[in-house]
């Protein structure tokens, strides 16, 4: 790939990544309870990191360097999924009841 | 202002904050946290001040690296002391 095309794809992926981070943060700020906030962080931020890693891997100098970047993503996914579960379970153990729509209550 | 100088100044403020905390705070755990913050401030000053011209300086970096490891060891020792103190306090009661 020529360098200009690489830079273009890299920039596109990075911006998409940043968008999902923003979505995660907005969700965290606006969602009503800890369970919904968990959804925001475990889904949006993780995809944000995925795109960010992809955007940087496009720029990487060697295949191994790119793979090293891409390796970080599944590691974070595994950690996020596990920690998300631990927090949700803990929240239930603490007796925090989930937020419901007024008509569902 | 260079990056090094900025973090050195932040380090000064952290050091003073940690020192005040270590004197004022009552709980053992808070005192330990305050000491750690104080130490981190000193580390930032060490490295930041040496690099205020923007040239990385390996000597303070190596010192701080060992400092961090010693800090975690002393934190563990201090926590062990705090536990022993709490346990002895319970016995006297």
């Amino acid at each position: 790939m020529p360098d200009s095309a690489r830079e273009f794809f890299s920039a596109v992926f990075l911006v998409i990544g940043a968008f999902f981070y923003l979505a995660g943060t907005v969700g965290l700020l606006r969602f009503p309870d800890v369970y919904t906030r968990l959804h925001a962080l475990t889904k949006a931020d993780n995809l944000g990191l995925g795109f960010l890693v992809l955007g940087l891997a496009v720029q990487a100098e060697s295949l191994a360097a790119a793979l090293k970047l891409l390796l970080i993503w599944p590691l974070t996914l595994a950690a996020s999924a596990t920690v998300g579960y631990l927090i949700a379970r803990r929240a239930r153990a603490l007796g925090i009841s989930p937020w419901l729509r007024p008509e569902d209550r | 202002m260079s990056t090094g100088l900025l973090y050195a100044l932040a380090g000064v403020l952290l050091f003073v904050m940690g020192m005040a905390g270590a004197i004022i705070m009552a709980g053992a755990l808070r005192k330990i946290l305050a000491f750690n913050i104080m130490g981190s401030g000193a580390f930032l000053v060490l490295v930041g001040l040496a690099q205020r011209d923007g040239i990385p300086d390996p000597v303070p970096q190596a010192m701080v690296l060992t400092g961090i490891v010693v800090a975690v060891a002393s934190t563990a020792l201090a926590l062990a002391l705090a536990r022993r103190l709490a346990a002895d306090g319970d016995e006297e009661r």
Binding site: F19, F20, A23, G24, V26, G27, R30, F31, P32, D33, Y35, T36, L38, H39, A40, T42, K43, A44, N46, L47, G48, G50, S62, L63, A64, A65, L67, K68, L71, L77, A78, S80, A81, T82, G84, Y85, A88, R89, A91, R92, P98, W99, L100, R101, D104 | -
Partner: protein
């Protein structure tokens, strides 16, 4: 002990080492030692099981997973940017068909990353799932995820 899993794991950790050192070939000594130690630790912590993992299944699963996790993020983004987030959360209970152990762990992890589901509890075969939008056909999606995992690991449901 069978040789194949040992070889497979050694190869995987050697690949990890190659990626970490970014292809450098200096000083393989430490590399060999740590790959050996890692393989030993992995065999101790996770003795080889008698699954028949299908590689085509893994590839298909990975593609599906990437697509679904993108969907999940888009769903969250859409909800987050709505003027009034249209959430209809509820907690549902699903009885798992997958065998206990690794397959269950995998489905819990996968559900946490897939659109609109977040596991809060596992009791035996009962899975309690927090759902972002209870109006969507979540149970069907969980069943589909189960089927894919079963196919990939070669286990019967």
């Amino acid at each position: 002990m069978r040789v194949a899993p040992v070889l497979r794991r050694t190869l995987a950790f050697a690949l990890l080492w190659w990626v970490l050192v970014e292809g450098s070939s200096v000083s393989w000594g430490i590399g060999l030692a740590s790959v050996g130690l890692a393989t030993f630790a992995s065999l101790r912590l996770w003795p080889p099981a008698h699954w028949r993992i299908s590689y085509a299944g893994v590839a298909a699963f990975a593609g599906w997973f990437l697509l679904e996790s993108a969907k999940g993020a888009v769903q969250v983004a859409a909800l987050a940017f709505q003027r009034r987030p249209d959430l209809a959360p509820r907690i549902i209970e699903i009885s798992l068909a997958l065998p206990a152990g690794a397959a269950t762990v995998l489905i819990v992890n996968v559900l946490n990353l897939l659109p609109g589901t977040m596991c809060t509890d596992v009791e035996g075969k009962i899975l309690r799932v927090h759902v972002l939008d209870g109006r969507l056909p979540v149970v069907e999606e969980v069943r589909a995820a189960e089927a894919r995992i079963a196919r990939m690991l070669g286990v019967t449901q």
